[in-house]
Amino acid sequence: MQNKKLNIVLAGQANVGKSVTFNYLTGLHQHIGNWAGKTIAKAEGTLFYKGYVIDILDLPGIYSLATYSIEEIIAREHITKEKPDFIINIVDATRLEKNLLFTLQLLEMNRPLVVSLNMSNLLEKRGMEINLAKLEKILGVPVVLTVATQGKGLTTVLDRGIDLVRKTENIKPIKYGEEVEERIEKLIVDLKKADFPYEPRWLAIKLLEKDQEIIKDIGKKHPELTAKAAGLCRELEEIHGHDASVIIAGERCLLATQIIDQVLKTNKEKKVSLNEKIDRIACHKIWGYPTMAGMLGLVFYIIFLFGNWFSSLLAQITSGWRPAWENLFGLSVLSSLGWSAIESALALFDLALPFIIPFYLLLFLLESSGYLARVTFLMDNLMHRMGVHGKACIPLIMGFGCNVPACLSCRIMETERERFITGFLTTLIPCSAKTIVVFGLVGKFVGLSWVFGLYAFMALLIISLGRLASKKVKGEAVELIMEMPEYRIPSLKTILLQTWFGVKDFIFVAAPLVIGLGIIIKAVSLAGWLPLIVGFLSPITVSWLGLPAITGILLIFGVLRKELILVMLAGLLGTTNFAQILTPAQMIVLALVSLIYFPCVATLAVFWREFGWKRTIIVVITELFLAVLLGGLAYRILNFFI
C-alpha cells in the first residue's frame, strides 16, 4: 500500500490528557518549536500507522475558540486555515459537561472530528455512566472511550478518524435554539454567496457572537454583511436582554446541559473522594500554607543538595581540561579566547545539568500531579497585591531555581500584560546563583539575620515594583480563572519529555549570548582595558556605593554568571576570607547590588526573545538604576548601624 499523508490536530481543554495522548502517539518523533511570530510552543510529531504517515499537531490547551488569549486565536486559525484532515477532540470523560462546551465549538467548524473520551477508566469509580451510542448520535461524530496513559483506545480513535476521511460525507450540524438558528441561516445564505475560504456556519455564529477578528476580516470586503449581522445581534439582544456574545455561549451551555441529561447517569458519590480529602489539607485556609512551604522547601532542598554535589563532581571532571587545552594550543591570545568560549559553554552545562534538569523534573512532577494548581489557588491573594493573579506564582517560584526557565514559563499568563509584568518580576527573584553570592558574602561574614533581612527587602521591592508596573503597563488586569484539576499520578514519560525539551530550549537560546559575552570579556581583559573600565566605573562603585574599585570588574563578570562575583573576588584577592578587604556594610551593599543590578546574560537572552528588545532595555535600565540608587542609600544607612 502506498504511504498516504494525513494532517491531524489534537484539540481539547487544559488538563484533559492532551500531551499524554500526544506523547503516546508520537513518542520521540516530535518537534517542539514556536508558532510563527508568537512565543507559544508548537508541538508537532509524526506517526506511522497502517500505511499512513500522520502528522500530528498538538494545539494549545484552551477553553474556547474565542479571542481571549493568544492560544485560542492560534488554535482556531490553524483549524480554519490549514483545514486538518481530522481533529481528535480529547475530552476528560469525568468532566464531560464542561468539556462539551468546547466540543460544540469545534463542531461548528465542520471538520471531521473524533471525540476521545479520555480517563474513561475513572468513570466507574466516580459512579458515572455514559451512554456512548446516544452521545454519538446526538453529536453526529464518532466517540471512543480511551485511557491515554495506557494507550487504550487510541488506535480505535485513529481508525475512526481515517474512516471519516475516506467517507468525506458532510457532518450534520447540531442545532441551537430556534431564534438563534433562524439568524444563523439568514447569514449563511449571504456568506455562501460571498465565498469566504471558511466554513459559512462557523462564520455566521462568530458574527452573531460579535467576534472582533471575524468582524474585521469580513467587514473589509463586505461591510454590508457585518452590518446585517449587527442588526441580527440587536434583534437577539432584544429577545434575551443580554449581549449577543453571551447569548451564543449561553446556547452552548443549554445544549450541553440537555445532552448531559440524556447521556450521563450519575450515582451520587457516598464516600468523600481522596481528592477532596487531600484538598481539605492542601487548600486549607491555615494548614494549606505550611503544607505549601514544606513542599516547595523540600523541592528546593533536594535541588540544592543534588545540584551542589553534581556541580562539584563536574568541576572535578573538567578541572584538568584547561591545562590540557593550553598544552595543545599553547598560550596565545587566540588560544585563551578559544578557552573562554569553552569555559562559557561548560558554565552553561554546569547550570543546566545539576540545577535546571532536576528543577524542571520536580516542577513538572508537581504540575502534572495537580498540586501547582493548589499553590496558585493559595497564592492568588498575595499575587493580587503585586498586580497580577495567582498563576504568576509559578514563574516566580521557578525563579528561585533559575530565572531562565522562570522567564520562559511566563507563557502560562493569559495576556501580554500579565506576561510582561511577571517576566519583569522574575528577573529580580534571587536565583540559585544569586543565593550563592548572598550566602557566601553576607551569610558567612555578617550573619544569617542579615541574609534574612536582604530577602525580606527583596520581597518588599518585588511587591512594590509589581504594584507600580501593574499601574504603568497598559491593559486591563485579568482575574484568576483556573480549572482545579483532580490529583493524579503523573506520567513519567510526559515529565521526561517536557524536561528534555525545556532544557534543550534553554541551551539553544542562552548558548550564543553566554559564549559570545564570555569571549568579549576575555578579549577586553587581554587587551588590558579592565583597569580603564574600573576607573570609569569608580565614581559609581567607589564614591557612591562605597565599595572597593575592583568590584567594578566583579559586577561586569557577574553579568555572565552571578556566582562569578564571588568566584572572581576570591580569585582577585587570592583568599576566600573576604573580611580582609570588605567591611560588613560593604558586603551587604555588594550583595544587594548583585541581587538587583542586571539579569544574567542567559536570562537576558530569553527575556529578549519573549518580550522584544524594547522591553528588555527598559527592564535593564530600571534595574541598573534601582541597584545603584538602593545600594548607595543602603551604604549610607548601614554606616550608621554597623
Partner: protein
C-alpha cells in the same frame, strides 16, 4: 428592591444559582464560555482567605478570583433553604 447577593458572599458548601453577571461583555462572555451563565447551578466548595473561590460547575471544578466572584449575582435555591 431586593438586595443583590454576590457569589463572593456565599458560604462554603452552599448550592446556588447564577442570576446574572454584572461585568463588561468581555468578562461575561469569558465566563459564559466556561459554562457560567444565568441559570447555571453552582456549588461553592472552598474559599481562600480574601482570595479566590473554588466552585463546582458542570461537573468540573473552577477557581475564580475574588474580584470576579464579586461580579456574579446569585440566588439561593429555595428548596435547599427550607431543608436546611
Amino acid at each position: 428592591m431586593i438586595k443583590q447577593l454576590f457569589l463572593a458572599k456565599v458560604k462554603e458548601g452552599e448550592e446556588v444559582e447564577i442570576v446574572s453577571i454584572k461585568a463588561g461583555a468581555k468578562t461575561a462572555k469569558r465566563l459564559a464560555d466556561l459554562g457560567l451563565t444565568s441559570g447555571t447551578k453552582i456549588k461553592v466548595l472552598r474559599k481562600a482567605i480574601s482570595g479566590p473561590i473554588e466552585i463546582k460547575v458542570r461537573g468540573s471544578r473552577l477557581a475564580l478570583g475574588r474580584g470576579l466572584a464579586n461580579k456574579i449575582v446569585i440566588k439561593r435555591d429555595l428548596i435547599c433553604k427550607i431543608k436546611n
